[in-house]
Symmetry: C2
Subunit: 418 residues, 2 copies
């Protein structure tokens, strides 16, 4: 099916700001909860705070190699006048302390060993001398608590050890392991259906193209973005400019997926057709069509029976820019993530002017280099249809809605690709 | 086996700066190359630059919905005096252009359609009027090239579309797909053997601990860090304080892994024992033992027959801090990554003084909050043995070797955990 332009082919959108668009899908239905083993939990999002069943470390513990003592027995000790203590025994790593510390006595204890009953401090070995077998000279006084941690100093029983809504980081896995939590309840990864449309689009494995054909770049890149945001991409292939075929694919996608993304055909007609299909898929339907962002204006957001549907522009660069801006936040929220991981950014000076229009958010790709005066951002303009602009960029910056461009020399925050 | 402190139990290290330590393992043996499908290539590191077999898009293409014309035919056109052109046909999406553009004629073309022979510009539909069937009025002049991209404008044949040494990003996957590259040669993920040692250490699944026992927190957290850096963690379990058993496990690890990490026991004796075992594993052996960093001083770096071996301190917080600092760069290099992904950082003001010693790098965990004056970093001190310091931190900052602490109010760069 072709879409020759008609004389009244101008597009009319009710443009919505990016912020307002995100607010439209701020509280989507989240994915169900599943139990995963700790080894698979990196980056997964707990559905509820994880709590410690018992205190950690669970026993008063030495933090140094030394001698467990009663601190009072060491008061006033010095190099000139050491405190002499009887060595009553030693603590073995990983074992209960078998010998208590009586007044005037000490028990040898390694770093991490159990503090014996009766002791309230550990004198580090560097502050002791052994001159006679069976006794030790302490040459510096210890205060109660020195060289020890309390049984609940790391974690109290019942304390939260990982919050809900924040993807688990490496150290969180360590803490869960320490607390004996070897399975954790997390949101299932959101399944994100990815549909490409357009009679011109052919699969990436197509070896020879005929003039007019392009390989599907958008689906592979979207899959990468979805994976990076903790989602599971569900590739749903390419649909030609055929409304009935698209409707069948999207209805199937709504059954199987938590979010559906469709890159619309590039022409006005193809985009209108996509919107028409989405409008039939379920209530409440299209939430906005047309974003006040460049590139990315012909973006469509819909809620089809509780499943967010995102219609992206046909050209890959625009599709990827706007999916990063509005799609990834939706994917994260559907996956239960309320605290998104921080993005790398760098503050840099623009090396030339960036034009813009008031009322529209401009997303500008940039290279970042370093100069004697600090980081420099060089905007990459070029035709917006070119994927090479995106692959040669180090990051991107925005010109906010209220600005009429940014003069050269402006300090901007560039979000770096990783 | 226990390690009661001896009277001369002071540790003697030849401390090495972190920079010098990294230089010792700057050019390790990299992993072999394997072919992976595009769908599995996110974050994988190409072993050689990936090139495009043919130019992209491969045909001169319209970037607008409109009419392909000879620009000369539109010179001087205006609303008052339009250029009248015969519409000779239309281009279908994804198909070769069947009708050339003769002088005085136009061909309708959708966004992304093939530019017909004879045409050198596309007039967007908004700058045209159709008043009579079979002809079009052009109301604005077009310059040659307007509304088009050249056949090689995105990528020239033979051009590099992804560099060696940089993990593939989402947009790189899109570009590879566009170029028909559906399998890519990347370094195999580095296999990182993870061994925990210590008679006190028990598996995380241990339900009830006896006093003195701690669950292995380090291995789970290290596995997370390795995964995040593109490596494949190989869990090798827990070895008690038994030199022969440790040697067996490490010799096996050297056969199977590209990097081996061993968290040494906490006590001086256990650490010395680990170093003794590592020293026997292969030439050139131990490269440095003792880093000028806090926490993390008792770190050991070795090269055992071409396999980097990293000995970490026994306490989980110290082990994770130092592995992030010196272990992850080694894992990345072994995996062929020469351009590491950027880390998120934030410039923040210290809300209090951070003490330090000259000649030692201090790694300080911090919470980051925002104030009216911008981000504020609150250092978390607490006992260094506590994993909770790491789980409650938003990021970390360093006090460089040459500084004697940082006064309150200093602007610092906090690297944020993600």
């Amino acid at each position: 099916m072709t879409h020759p332009p008609s004389g009244n082919g101008r597009e009319f959108f009710t443009t919505t700001t990016v912020g307002a668009a995100l607010a439209l899908l701020a509280s989507p239905r989240t994915t169900p909860v599943e139990r995963v083993p700790l080894a698979d939990a990196l980056g997964r999002t707990p559905a509820a705070p994880v709590t410690a069943a018992a205190a950690l470390p669970g026993f008063a513990r030495s933090t140094v190699d030394g001698f467990a003592v009663r601190a009072a027995d060491t008061f006033g000790a010095s190099e000139g006048l050491p405190a002499y203590l009887d060595v009553a025994g030693s603590v073995a790593m990983g074992r209960p302390a078998e010998v208590p510390v009586q007044p005037g006595a000490a028990v040898a204890v390694p770093t991490g060993g159990v503090l014996p009953d009766g002791a309230d401090a550990v004198v580090m070995v560097e502050h002791t001398q052994v001159t006679m077998p069976g006794s030790v000279e302490v040459v510096r006084p210890a205060a109660p608590g020195d060289g020890t941690v309390r049984a609940d100093e790391d974690v109290a029983a019942g304390a939260h050890i990982a919050p809900a809504g924040r993807p688990l980081r490496a150290q969180d896995l360590g803490m869960l392991a320490a607390a004996g939590v070897v399975e954790v309840s997390v949101h299932r990864r959101p399944r994100v259906g990815i549909v490409s449309t357009g009679d011109e689009v052919v699969p990436p494995e197509t070896v020879r193209l005929t003039p007019g054909q392009v390989r599907d770049a958008t689906a592979a890149a979207l899959a990468g973005l979805v994976t990076g945001a903790g989602g599971e991409p569900v590739p749903l292939g390419i649909v030609g400019d055929d409304a009935d075929a698209l409707e069948r694919v999207l209805r199937d996608a709504l059954e199987r997926c938590d979010v559906v993304v469709v890159s619309a055909g590039s022409s006005v007609g193809a985009r209108d057709e996509t919107a028409g299909v989405v409008a039939r898929l379920g209530a409440p339907g299209i939430l906005c069509h047309g974003l006040a962002v460049r590139p990315g204006k012909p973006t469509l957001l819909a809620d089809c029976g509780g499943v967010p549907v995102i219609g992206l522009p046909g050209n890959p660069l625009s599709a990827l820019v706007v999916f990063r801006l509005v799609g990834l936040p939706v994917v994260r929220r559907v996956g239960g993530t309320t605290v998104a991981p921080p993005e790398p950014t760098v503050r840099a000076r623009l090396d030339r002017q960036v034009p813009s229009q008031t009322g529209r958010l401009d997303v500008v790709q940039a290279r970042v280099t370093t100069s004697a005066d600090g980081p420099v951002a060089s905007p990459l303009f070029g035709a917006s249809a070119l994927l090479s602009v995106l692959t040669s960029a180090d990051g991107w910056l925005v010109v906010p809605e209220e600005a009429t461009g940014l003069p050269a020399g402006t300090a901007v925050d560039v979000t770096l690709y990783r």
